[in-house]
Symmetry: C2
Subunit: 437 residues, 2 copies
């Protein structure tokens, strides 16, 4: 469904927001704008519909024009960037031009900047005074994450907010200054994402077709796939501009759709929304007081790196070996030189020996091993690029699986790591008899 | 310097481009727009100045309006997104509206889509026919990376191009359809980036101040820092709209600045422009026929993962151990239990023993070891979060270094890995007597 019905012809629909990002570096290929997407997500949660982004250079006229145009169309305009201390930073000047007012030195803001410098044992430069010269019509917003204040004003009938460009400062001001003023109590569009790994998009669509059909008119279904992670995106949307969906009603529709999907997919759903496989597996290991070790060849340490992204992972991750060369497989893991010679490093036998070897050496409950051809070279007709063997050694023995992964080297390695972590999660659920399937 | 002088009041400056990205998912927090930044970089290399981005939803009127507005200001408009087969995809319809022409079925394009489906053994759906209904005024662009064709037309006095939204397809069409038509033979702004690791931005600025001053008026200097990697950004820009800088002249100015910077910084510069430390170190190891092994605690496998991102890394990376627990440090690397007990895991002695242990076990020329407090918990007054010991065992003995790194867990780990790889690069240069210092 398009959002067209939510963005009517009325010039001042009261839920429409626009975002303007400001900076030469955003127009030269140097910097990808991540602030807009972050603000989109927050504003949507708070009940706004973001109808447009614009990115303009650090120049007064284009910034002022973009502000006026946005304020004509939307009732909220959030700007980011151009509040720094150098001559290049022109956003306060541009807003003053758009408002038709002067820039005036704000003594409180100046004092705050001076105090911030003093707290770092540094002296304020004359340049930093620029950051205290603000449009006369409007109010500064305290920014404890940086030097530049934020700012708010009324431009025509629209509220306009100026935030710095540094993502950390955007996040601080969004939480502390924007949320209290802009959170309308709930989203216009209610969303939930169910996450799976190793399920192709078309296979997933096929498997859940009946569930989707059963929820037509209540919940919309979408899909998204990247490096073996496939997401089912559920949304509950109003059908017209004036309709608001009761949050309890939306939650209950999403709950029903989620329950039906889990009925079909079982353990294949590893989590929802912001869940990451490394943290989900970590919680499971932690809960069950289980430990894991890794033996990585083609992933080269990536599985260990993913497991240890999670704070507290030392409770369940003991460590492992990266055995990129055949000699390392023999020396560190006790893989049989004969198997390596006769079958090659990329085979089920070697994967199993790697998993069993690291499990014994580190005394872990479980062990994961990977060996494969990540490319771009090294493939053969029998073992083309993307052929990966993963093995899992556990209390009840060892199992293995061969994967045929598409994509480039980075994608094959990421897919292998994700699939290995997710398979271990499912094996643990099955082995202890608590599988949902 | 601001680009203001390059974007004069003239309504049709012949080097000004704008980018429009189209899609509801770009306005909801689901997807960060990376296509705009990619296109910025290419267009700049080809001699264009990108003056503005806009992002609009999948709706005919806003798309058509954004196209007309951009074509009024710029002489080139590049659009991305909304060419898919579903009802949500409205970009062709919007361009037809902006051009004031009809959509007509293009038989050649339809045949190409049908053939593409046949080549995958699939049948075209009626939806896919939509992708062959194109504005009457303009020409399709063959897209071998996907189903939807690109498109080009003249809107007012501006050239307008439509590309799909999938990044891989954007890249294919940019190279095959845009470059031949839009490359004006060289950039307006000539850039070069020198990369260092472990140099703070303010320290770097201090060290190179005299070099910067010596090039005022010839080359502009900028800085950028992220997770211990600090870049010096050099640029040569024209001073007015009509000036073009001769590419040889620009190169020679950048060469002189680079040579002066290397004179001051020596080996601290690990590469320029797109260079990555893992590939730079890899080439050095490969050239010298040296091998390396890793022993990682707080980085948890990240250094191995970075080394093996590089195709062909098996020539010099043998593997290593991820020893997250103390027991693993003892069992896999032979670290002394007494040192662990008396000094703790985060100390120079343990780092040295880890490096030496893995070097002996794998028989490598060099070995890297890391042990530290990545946080957010685990810090103490003596060893706060961010304390990391790195050690390097090599043919001439073992050296070690303690780091005090700022930032969060992810940033501390990435910094550690980059600094360790870069330190090894510098040690190898020094050890073989080919240092530039």
């Amino acid at each position: 469904m398009s959002l067209e019905s939510l963005r009517p012809a009325s010039p001042f629909p009261d839920r429409i927001a626009e975002i303007i990002t400001i900076g030469d570096e955003l127009l030269s290929g140097e910097t990808v704008d991540t602030n807009s997407s972050y603000l989109d997500g927050l504003l949507e949660q708070w009940g706004w519909i973001v109808a447009r982004h614009a990115t303009v250079p650090d120049e007064v006229d284009p910034i002022a024009r973009a502000m006026r145009d946005a304020a004509d169309r939307a009732s909220l305009v959030v700007c980011s960037g151009g509040l720094g201390p150098t001559e290049d930073d022109r956003t306060f000047e541009a807003l003053a031009q758009a408002l038709g007012c002067a820039l005036v030195l704000d003594d409180d803001v100046l004092e705050r900047i001076r105090a911030r410098f003093a707290s770092f044992g540094r002296t304020m430069t004359p340049n930093n005074e620029r950051q205290a010269r603000l449009p006369a019509n409007g109010q500064p917003l305290v920014n404890e994450a940086g030097t530049a204040p934020g700012f708010q004003a009324l431009l025509g009938r629209a509220k306009i907010y100026l935030l710095p460009g540094v993502p950390r400062e955007v996040r601080w001001l969004a939480e502390h200054a924007l949320r209290p003023q802009l959170d309308r109590g709930g989203p216009v569009i209610h969303r939930r994402t169910l996450k799976t790994i190793g399920f192709g998009e078309s296979r997933l669509e096929h498997v859940i077709r009946e569930v989707r059909d059963a929820h037509v008119g209540s919940v919309e279904f979408g899909y998204r796939a990247q490096a073996s992670e496939t997401h089912i995106k559920l949304s509950v949307r109003p059908h017209s501009h004036n309709e608001t969906i009761d949050p309890d009603e939306a939650r209950s529709r999403l709950d029903r759709a989620e329950a039906d999907l889990r009925g079909v997919l079982g353990d294949a759903v590893f989590g929802t929304d912001l869940a990451e496989i490394s943290a989900v597996l970590g919680s499971l290991l932690d809960e069950r007081k289980l430990t894991v070790a890794t033996a990585e060849s083609c992933t080269g340490g990536l599985i260990g790196a993913m497991l240890t992204e999670v704070p507290g992972s030392s409770a369940y991750y003991l460590g492992g070996c990266v055995t990129y060369s055949n000699d390392a497989k023999v020396a560190l893991l006790g893989v049989s030189p004969r198997a390596l010679e006769e079958l090659g490093a990329v085979c089920e036998v070697v994967a199993r020996q790697m998993a069993e070897g690291v499990r014994v050496r580190l005394g872990s409950d479980w062990a994961i091993a990977t060996t494969g051809v990540a490319g771009p070279t090294g493939g053969s007709p029998e073992k083309p690029v993307g052929t990966v063997h993963v093995a899992f050694a556990g209390p009840d023995g060892t199992s293995a699986k061969v994967l045929a992964l598409p994509g480039d080297r980075a994608s094959i390695r990421t897919s292998t790591a994700r699939i290995a972590l997710d398979q271990l999660r499912q094996l643990i659920l099955v082995s202890s008899g608590t599988s949902e399937r």
